[in-house]
């Protein structure tokens, strides 16, 4: 084996090993974060199928940029940012409120043993109306409020996803809740 071939083999072998490693890493990311990403996507799309499409698109982008996996410090924030951009792009392209939003998607999210069927439907309808009110909030406040609903995300991670500071996120959430409360008062939904 010549010197050049030996050098070439030393280049190729780590590349093949890296491919196997990245496949395992991506599989682990899917197992750990797919549910959280689905929730993030669902908070914007309000549609189960679209949320799942967004999750799949997120991991496809990860696969296409798998060579950068070693550079990522916080996988959760990175993935949430990807899925967040994907769903916002889809929503921007549609330029409409989610068309596929239906009661069944909301009812599916509820634990089946907690409520009776009719109570579940009523609750889902109320949630849908409140989510419609959330959509009327300013974009900054709405995004911060929706991401704060995801239990897996801390305030610092929300700030990192939205590219701002924690204090800004807290104030946005506060303003969003206050404005939403005013809207609820006007609509009389809580009664």
């Amino acid at each position: 084996m010549s010197c050049f071939e030996g050098q070439l083999a030393s280049w190729v072998a780590p590349a093949c090993e890296t491919t196997v490693d990245t496949s395992r890493t991506i599989a682990a990311l899917v197992a750990e974060y797919s549910t959280a990403l689905y929730r993030v996507a669902f908070s914007v799309t309000r549609n189960a199928a679209e949320a799942e499409d967004a999750v799949q698109e997120t991991f496809l982008r990860v696969l296409r940029h798998e060579s950068r996996l070693g550079e990522i410090r916080d996988y959760r924030v990175w993935l949430v940012r990807i899925v967040w951009n994907i769903v916002l792009d889809k929503k921007r392209r549609a330029k409409t409120r989610p068309e596929g939003e239906d009661i069944a998607d909301h009812a599916r999210a509820l634990p089946s043993s907690d409520l009776a069927a009719d109570a579940a439907v009523i609750s889902s309808q109320r949630h849908a109306r409140i989510l419609a009110l959330i959509d009327r909030l300013p974009a900054r406040e709405r995004q911060a409020l929706l991401l704060s609903a995801i239990e897996e995300l801390s305030t610092a991670e929300i700030a990192s996803v939205l590219g701002t500071t924690e204090s800004s996120i807290r104030s946005r959430i506060f303003r969003a809740r206050r404005e939403l409360a005013v809207l609820l008062e006007k609509e009389g939904i809580q009664r």
């Binding site: 491919t19 797919s34 060579s67 239990e151 939403l180």
Partner: protein, 177 residues
Amino acid sequence: MKHAIEPENDPRTTAVIDATLHHVGSVTPSSGLEGRVLTRLASERVRMEAAPSTGLPFFRRTKLAVRGRLPVQALGLVTGCLLAFVVVAGSVMHSRRLHTNQLVAPPALVLPAHGIGAASAVHPVAPASAPVPASQAARGRSARHTGRARIAPHARKAPGVAVPAPPSNHTSPDSQN
């Protein structure tokens, strides 16, 4: 009428908002989401590996096209080096060909038959074989008159001015011309 409790401080309102947010944040995907994602990723990986690489055959054969980045970078580097070599070599060869085959001569200087400069070419004059003496009139006044200035005897003079008598062998300047 003002509310006794602000809306944002109303516990019922807060509870409704919290319930809705909890509902959004606790939604669960349909079962098998991870499996579907992994299946999609596997098919995408197969498609990516089956797609023709943009790299050189050398890099495809040596399986360095795993990422699809190295061949493109190497191709760019090799192309740049080749272009630089062609430009430099072409420039050197071109300059050498000029020096060896096409010696550039300066424009020929056509001298006139008589004289050297441009004025001689316009007004041809036979070159003088010996210095030509200037005529008396062409000489300067200081060269024509030698000695002191002379005053004519009948010239009017200021009172008290004595004029010496001219020498006897001296001829009048006027009679010279």
